[in-house]
């Protein structure tokens, strides 16, 4: 197998995880920046719609590195999808596949299931909850918690911050409750 072919295969966790972890020292060393992504949403609010809200009145330009960083993530998505993409469908756990089939979700070709997340489904109740309500909870919840998976679960835990452990445990509890108890009802809509 050529190197490019190896890169095109899905990467295992023991490659991806350490690379993500390395983001922590890289950002610290290249510019004294603490890893965190959800802050970018706050900076976008401060930049575009501050509306005289004190929470958005700060010098967002000083934090613009974070906006460059997320724009880079977007570009990384473009490059990976168009030049390094895996020609095969995403392999998923057979149990999950069976579960999802019960809700009519049978297409596993994309990373984002098109039967749930598409412009057509946006105008259905199920799609609206998945796309709009879900997004709102992500934005509201991360800011209320003061960080997301990157800022708390990775950066905060790396610096042994107990509030970040509390946040991470709550992220997981929320995720389990939603996925196991509530999501089945939403998917049945």
């Amino acid at each position: 197998m050529s190197l490019l072919e190896i890169i095109k295969e899905p990467w295992p966790w023991y490659v991806a995880g350490p690379l993500i972890g390395l983001t922590v020292p890289i950002l610290l060393i290249i510019g004294n920046k603490s890893f965190g992504i959800s802050s970018s949403l706050r900076h976008i609010c401060a930049m575009c719609i501050p509306a005289n809200i004190p929470f958005f009145k700060y010098d967002w330009k000083k934090e613009s590195w974070n906006l460059f960083f997320v724009f880079g993530i977007f570009l990384g998505g473009v490059i990976a999808a168009y030049f390094l993409s895996n020609p095969n469908a995403v392999t998923i756990a057979p149990e999950l596949s069976e579960q999802l089939a019960g809700y009519g979700i049978t297409d596993h070709t994309g990373l984002v299931p098109s039967q749930l997340f598409s412009w057509e489904s946006l105008f259905t109740l199920r799609g609206f909850i998945m796309i709009v309500v879900g997004g709102f909870l992500v934005g509201f919840g991360t800011r209320y918690a003061g960080g997301c998976t990157s800022g708390h679960a990775i950066m905060g835990l790396s610096n042994l911050q107990w509030p970040s452990l509390v946040a991470t445990i709550c992220f997981m509890i929320g995720g389990f409750v939603m996925a196991l108890l509530i999501l089945p009802y939403i998917l049945s809509l």
């Binding site: 991806a16 972890g21 590195w65 209320y144």
Partner: protein, 159 residues
């Protein structure tokens, strides 16, 4: 001053560096982000299916990713502190401690709900859009709206 006030009520980091970044020097963050985005896509971390497998305990994958990322992060921060490693600009590396607020519980649970629904944290949203899932722009705008709404009603919420 606003900056400082916000620091006290929000555990989020307002960056420590006193060196003003020019537009050009910000490009390095774009490049780090770019590699990060490629990892997100290639390891399928941005896949809605991976997140469902994680919360249904059907795969070890995401636990392996997050666990090994934290392990590398812990070791890195430990080494930076132990050897007093400086930034490339020669500044002392400073990491602001996270202060506890009830927001980490209430907000954390809300984010957990959103995470399991959308299958994405804020970072993967940007990468998903990059892969061509254009409708995720709506999810991102909604997340920005959620952040904005938090800013609006922040003082009325328990912290």
């Amino acid at each position: 001053m606003n900056n400082l006030e916000n620091k006290n009520t929000d555990t989020e980091r307002i960056n420590a560096s006193q060196i003003k970044d020019s537009g050009f020097s910000n490009l390095k963050y774009l490049i780090v982000g770019l590699f990060f985005g490629i990892v997100f896509v290639k390891a399928e971390i941005i896949s809605w299916f991976r997140i469902q497998e994680m919360f249904n305990l059907q795969s070890f994958f995401m636990y392996g990713v997050i666990g090994s990322a934290v392990a590398v992060g812990v070791i890195s921060v430990f080494l930076i502190k132990k050897f007093n490693i400086k930034t490339l600009q020669g500044e002392k590396i400073e990491i602001q401690p996270k202060t506890f607020s009830k927001g980490q519980i209430y907000g954390g649970l809300m984010f957990g709900f959103g995470w399991a629904i959308t299958g994405a944290c804020p970072g993967p949203l940007f990468a998903q859009i990059g892969t061509g899932a254009t409708v995720i722009v709506v999810t991102l705008l909604s997340a920005i709206a959620g952040t904005w709404f938090y800013g609006l009603i922040k003082d009325k919420l328990p912290h």
